[in-house]
């Protein structure tokens, strides 16, 4: 643990819990107020207001069909809200959605390499990223041949490609096996410690373990 902190140049004496507001470079990454989206002239979910700052892990929870995926797509900027305000910080964000954006006809390495060229290049080599998400054994296979969990890992590899501070993850634990979950917990912990933040939609049974998080319960329909 301490190795990480030293490695990233943080002062051990001043080190605060990573979710503390006094965190160095504390920044608001996204803030929404009274946000909702209408479909068929009805709000999909009751208006939500929150903000996500450095070190935050926010869980968007609720029953099936309560608008978690919709909200996270609004946060990612794919959808425009019908009501309410949304403001983004300038630290970049990355979104791993329900649809994984993994091309069936490309190999794992080709998929990651394309996203690297498209999004920006990090200093981490593709081989190292493949290793970290646990796909080294299958890295030359086309994505079509992968299992659902392996495809998920391939999509999650995008998180390691950029220095985007805000991660938006839609059901990141689904389809992952035990090792996959531990792997995701590992990179998430490191991301939060490095001053990142994460919003995660999850229907409740699959939650990050050993993290402090805030929960935003979502309810479908119009405000009562």
């Amino acid at each position: 643990m301490d190795q990480f902190r030293l490695h990233h140049g943080m002062d051990l004496l001043q080190a605060k819990p990573y979710h503390s507001p006094e965190f160095i470079n504390f920044k608001c990454m996204i803030s929404v107020s009274d946000l909702t989206l209408e479909r068929y002239f009805e709000p999909v979910f009751q208006p939500v207001s929150f903000s996500i700052s450095t070190g935050d892990l926010v869980l968007l929870t609720g029953d099936n069909g309560c608008g978690k995926t919709t909200l996270i797509r609004i946060l990612a900027g794919v959808l425009a809200p019908s009501e309410g305000r949304i403001e983004w910080g300038d630290d970049g964000m990355i979104y791993v959605g329900h649809m994984l954006a993994v091309k069936d006809d490309l190999t794992v390495t080709e998929n990651i390499n394309f996203m690297r060229q498209f999004l920006g290049h990090s200093e981490t080599s593709t081989a190292e990223i493949v290793e970290r998400v646990g796909l080294r054994r299958v890295c030359e296979q086309t994505a079509r041949t992968l299992s659902a969990g392996q495809r998920k890992r391939c999509a999650l590899a995008r998180l390691l490609l950029t220095d985007a501070k805000l991660w938006l993850l839609d059901e990141p634990y689904s389809n992952l096996d035990k090792h996959g979950m531990i792997m995701l917990d590992g990179i998430l912990e490191r991301h939060l410690r490095d001053g990142g933040a994460c919003a995660m939609a999850t229907h409740g049974s699959l939650r990050p373990e050993g993290f402090e998080y805030r929960e935003i319960g979502m309810v479908s329909g119009a405000a009562s």
Binding site: R73, V78, L100, K103, D105, E110, Q117, F118, G120
Partner: protein, 228 residues
């Protein structure tokens, strides 16, 4: 620290990826071209093998077949990227969606439009088009097939989120192709008849420039709308 890529690098990365994908799915990419060959070969069977008749309808037949083959391939232009979530990643990547649309249109022309140009001498031979007019046919196809891809991409983007968008797509784009069909087929016919055709080619060039400047914006707007 990592760095954001510029739009031109993203453009090249996307072109390279789409060419690779087209190569991996080459049998699928061939289908519209086979369709083109089959459609043109049906005309002599339908109207009779008289060389004079075939020669006189050749410009129109070849151009209509090119239109049909292009529309057939347009449905797949954005569909796979839409369905696997790549398109929404593109839309939020910070790169202009117009640039992304332009890259995809360019690859579409390379794999669906350019082969039509390359096949056109064979089609001209089948349809008994006088060989003097072959160069004009090739030029009209070179100028016109990019317009087919550009204008058609608007239709492809508008129907990509629909389950059965393919049939609707042809209704949307064929009326928009009318001017191109008229002018291109007429240029070839004029060449056959020994009449001047440079005016038509000039109009087609102007059309290409207009489509190149306007269509990517419309396509980008339609793509963003389809993602909502």
């Amino acid at each position: 620290m990592s760095h954001r890529t510029g739009a031109s690098k993203a453009f090249l990365a996307l072109v390279r990826r789409d060419l690779l994908l087209a190569f991996r799915r080459r049998s699928e990419m061939m289908q519209p071209l086979l369709f083109l060959l089959v459609v043109v070969s049906l005309f002599p069977l339908g109207v009779g093998p008289s060389p004079d008749l075939l020669g006189s309808i050749a410009p129109g037949v070849i151009w209509i077949a090119a239109l049909l083959a292009t529309v057939l391939s347009l449905d797949t232009l954005f569909r796979s990227d839409f369905e696997d979530g790549t398109l929404e990643q593109f839309a939020i990547s910070g790169h202009p969606v117009t640039v992304i649309a332009l890259a995809k249109i360019m690859v579409h022309w390379l794999v669906a439009g350019l082969p039509i140009v390359l096949l056109s001498p064979l089609l001209a031979l089948w349809m008994n088009l006088p060989m003097d007019a072959l160069d004009v046919l090739v030029i009209t196809l070179l100028l016109g097939t990019p317009v087919l891809s550009l204008v058609g991409s608007i239709g492809g983007a508008l129907t990509v989120s629909l389950k059965r968008g393919g049939q609707l797509l042809s209704l949307l784009v064929f009326p928009l192709y009318v001017p191109l069909l008229i002018i291109a087929a007429n240029a070839v016919s004029a060449a056959v008849a020994g009449l001047p055709y440079s005016g038509q080619l000039g109009l087609m060039g102007a059309g290409l420039i207009a489509a190149l400047t306007l269509a990517p914006f419309a396509t980008a707007a339609a793509l963003k709308l389809s993602l909502e």
